[in-house]
């Protein structure tokens, strides 16, 4: 076997302009934001992005001008507010918003992963999201006649995701997964950024995504920042407040300071508060004193 370890920049060469790109993570956790920053830096264009429960990841790709269509069920900074660029670019008509119910994304991925012509779900009946998807069809169950939504297979060209650890062959271990395994199975190409590359034996028998599904592994400590990667670090609430504030000022200052100027992950982390901030986020993940 050939090792699959590459640099961030090398990994971005696997994402073609115009690709259908899925991004992992959910709410404010486990988004591959370091890789997203690199995609913005190298200037990807016309991506059709699938972010099932997106946050900073999808929002930064939009801010960087990389996105033509955003496919999602929700893009939010949760209690911190709206994702500012997602909101402003769609309101200005610069990005197409293609919204899905959550279960419909899952039905599409399940169809892709089981080789079925469609996935079936009751979810979406009566919802206006259905009008945004001419590719779906409401059809009767062949056995009972009950109406269902038939969803064609959802097959990303590339999925990017962030995980706690992997070995050099691309065996990936998660502590907590959202749709990562479904996305990895459905996608032609899979890029995984990890907190650390570990020796093969360290995760043997407890691998979440086996290597045959994975094309590239990149070691990027704190690669989900400013989102979280429990139990290593929580999302950076202080940074998210600044992120939302930057949205009120046109966002260019944020892009310059945190995306364009820092050429490496180390330089980014320094700009984002350095060791002191990272230790704080780590301490919050460790929990209260009784459990620390």
């Amino acid at each position: 076997m050939t090792p699959k370890v590459v640099s961030l920049e090398e990994a971005t060469s696997l994402v073609a302009d115009g690709a259908f790109l899925a991004v992992g993570g959910y709410f404010l956790s486990y988004h591959p934001v370091a890789l997203v920053r690199e995609l913005v830096r190298v200037g990807k264009r016309s991506l059709r992005v699938l972010a099932p429960l997106g946050s900073v990841d999808a929002d930064l790709l939009i801010a960087g001008g990389c996105v033509s269509e955003i496919h999602f069920s929700m893009i939010s900074l949760e209690q911190f507010g709206f994702a500012p660029n997602f909101r402003s670019w769609i309101e200005a008509g610069r990005v197409s918003a293609i919204e899905y119910p959550e279960s419909v994304i899952i039905a599409g991925l399940r169809a892709a992963n089981s080789g079925m012509p469609f996935g079936a779900t009751r979810v979406g009946l009566g919802s206006d999201q259905l009008q945004l998807h001419p590719e779906f069809k409401v059809s009767g169950c062949p056995l009972t006649g009950e109406p269902y939504v038939a969803v064609p297979p959802l097959q990303p060209d590339v999925t990017v995701m962030h995980a706690p650890r992997a070995d050099q062959w691309g065996n990936v271990q998660f502590d907590d997964v959202f749709l990562e395994l479904e996305l990895a199975r459905a996608s032609r190409t899979v890029i995984v950024t990890v907190e650390e590359i570990v020796p093969e034996g360290a995760i043997a028998g407890r691998v979440t995504i086996p290597q045959y599904l994975v094309d590239a592994v990149v070691e990027v400590p704190f690669g989900a920042h400013p989102t979280g990667c429990y139990p290593r670090y929580v999302f950076d609430g202080w940074h998210l407040l600044d992120y939302v504030a930057a949205g009120r000022d046109g966002f260019d200052g944020y892009l310059e300071r945190y995306v364009r100027a820092p050429r490496t992950q180390a330089a980014y982390l320094e700009a984002a508060g350095g060791v002191e901030r990272l230790m704080r986020l780590n301490r919050l993940a460790l929990g209260d004193r009784a459990h620390a």
Partner: protein, 282 residues
Amino acid sequence: MPKERDYSVDELMIWTLAQEFPDGQLIGEGANTPLGLAALLLAKLTHAKDATYVSGVGLTVDTAAYPLSLTRTEYMVATRSRARWDMRDDFSAFERGDYRVVLVAPAQVDRYGNTNNSVIGEYRRPRVRLPGGAGLPDVAAVQEKIIIYTTRHSPRTVVSRVDFISGPGFLDGGDARRRAGLTRGAPHRIVTNLGVFGFDPASGEAVLTSVHPGVTVPHVQDATGFPLRVAPDLAETPEPPLDAVRLIRERVDPLEIRKLEFVPAREREQLLRAILDRELEG
């Protein structure tokens, strides 16, 4: 003159919402919002001790109650649960309708219990692009009882017709929901900062069933975007018992994260900073 009260409206709403969660069943938080989660946690500490709580954050199964947290929810649920699901397990349970009662907190709700968290204005060029329906259509299609809540009851949030149906209620009323193929479940209540609505099962219309202490029907009418239907036996919403209020303050939400859903937008950042600092000191 309204009398001095020993609780605030957030605590009244949490207690009112908590009563909806059944004991001995699977429960989860449809709305990933402080008030809905506080209601679930209060239920777990009081009448629903044997409910099996699956946390939407971390997908932990049979999770014990914990104090609300801004940044440390994953830690809280991971250290207080018996098992872990992945999204496929959770959505299988969800699509089957196992979470009988689900709370949702949309930006808009209308007289037929339709909910919107997608756009204000026209879909393709919206005045406000909201975060998205997320699980609203999912909840609305399959769960037995949909409990909708809003902390900002106004003609902009409780409207005659939502701008976009993210989550279907009774659609245009009457049997429209059934005709759309939605044969399970239905909107059950709307709980706001002013009162509580039920639904007329025949017409699908929201009916005001109680007003909170100190609130009048004309006050609710002024804040509502459609002519009210008022139940003949309109009541005053029961006040939360003092021991429940104490639980909310001491065990469910000592950091006062629930206040985020009530403060004006301009004070939100300051409150978030204060909560982050409190959590760090914790």
